[in-house]
């Protein structure tokens, strides 16, 4: 089997179509993960014990089961109880929910790394709880989180091919359909690898920039 450039150019529009969906899923999934992760992190810190415990259990449950299984449940099992979601929506929810549990852990670590003395100083200067979060705690907690969150973003990006299993027409799925109809696998699969590699490498470079900027903790 030899490499056929003509075939590469011929399938390129289809692959780019898939890449667009892959990037869309990544961005939407990241938003779901970032928001839901914050909800999980705050709920786990709640003084309402059943809420804190319930959230902990849910987070453990999601982390302890494979993403592929969760995607199948959301797309193929939920319709049995009347919840019918378009593939793209199911995929974004699935991957976003999964990575929300990881984001929650990063948030928790970042928030707990802010020393108790900072909360006390905020109270001694009579800031309200909201002012304490906005002006004292989050500005210190968030910057050290950024490299870790960005790493999860890349990990999530590389897991998006799983969405092909629930018929989302992302990059991998497009490549598979091209390959299945032409019986040529080398060009589509190589191109999928190249796309992921190039975007990952660029992202990794960006992350090391972020790490240089935020990774070191300011000394007190």
């Amino acid at each position: 089997m030899s490499w056929d450039w003509a075939f590469v150019w011929q399938i390129m529009p289809t692959l780019l179509q898939g890449l667009k969906i892959t990037l869309l899923v990544t961005v939407l999934g990241a938003i779901v993960a970032a928001v839901l992760g914050l909800v999980f992190a705050v709920a786990r810190r709640s003084s309402i014990k059943p809420l804190a415990r319930g959230t902990s259990f849910l987070v453990q449950f999601i982390r302890g089961t494979p993403l592929l299984v969760q995607l199948y449940v959301i797309f193929y099992v939920l319709p049995d109880i009347g919840i019918r979601l378009p593939a793209l929506v199911a995929g974004v929810i699935g991957i976003g929910l999964h990575y929300a549990t990881y984001a929650a852990e990063v948030y928790r670590g970042g928030i707990e790394a802010v020393p108790r003395g900072q909360w006390e100083a905020a109270r001694a200067t009579n800031l309200t709880l909201r002012q304490t979060w906005v002006h004292v705690v989050l500005p210190q907690a968030v910057p050290p989180m950024i490299p870790a969150l960005a790493n999860y973003l890349i990990a999530m990006f590389k897991e998006t091919p799983l969405l092909s299993a629930i018929t989302v027409l992302e990059l991998m799925n497009q490549a598979k359909s091209v390959a299945n109809s032409s019986y040529r696998y080398i060009e589509p699969m190589t191109m999928v690898g190249v796309f992921f590699l190039v975007i990952s490498l660029i992202s990794v470079a960006l992350i090391s920039l972020l790490e240089a900027r935020y990774g070191r903790k300011a000394s007190r």
Partner: protein, 261 residues
Amino acid sequence: MAEPIIRFDNIRKSFGTLTVLDGLSFDVMPGEKLALIGPSGSGKTTILRILMTLENISGGHIEVCGEQLYHMQKAGREVPADEAHLHKMRRHIGMVFQHFNLFPHKCVLDNITLAPILTKGEPRAEAEKRGMALLDMVGLADKARAMPSQLSGGQKQRVAIARALALQPRIMLFDEVTSALDPELVEEVLAVMKRLADETDMTMLLVTHEMGFAHEFADRVLFFDRGHIIEQGPPDRIFTSPTHERTQTFLRKIIAAGHRV
């Protein structure tokens, strides 16, 4: 005779099974400078933390500036204070911590102006003008734009004092403010506090192991042991002729450890 500005009435405080304060009562008069001394674990710091509402009480009543701190009236009944009440009461009180607790992501001047701007709605220009005056008073006007990480311990603590003063509290709490400092930096912080004590009519409560400074600073010294006031009086008497045996033992130990009295 004026009313006390702080009144502890039968205060109890436990951490789990450990009882730190067991029925503590004492009054502080407006403008009084109080030094709280005694062995570690005697409850001195807890008293300050309770006043700053960093720690809840387990029983009793505290009056600050004529109002209950941890209780309020609701429909003619006494109920535990809510956050709004505590917020209102905290305006009267400022605190300086052993470990400074400056906000590391804000420059020196912003550390000082943050709370006046947020909690009192002070215009930024006004807050900065007062902030600069306070920095001038603690001798750090040239550090206004420095970050806390660029300061020495003594400088940090002077900024922390200015930050607490910026809210113009009637009561200032100093919790072992020189314990975390290198010995050569202690003096600059004590000098600032001595000036405050001499030049203002703020009520001040000082928890310290610096007996020499307590002697100079305080109008009244309270010696604590295991959550009780064992002995109290003017510093000249407490430090030169303590009557209680436990006070004598404590002061002997402190002198033996190399502290000046």
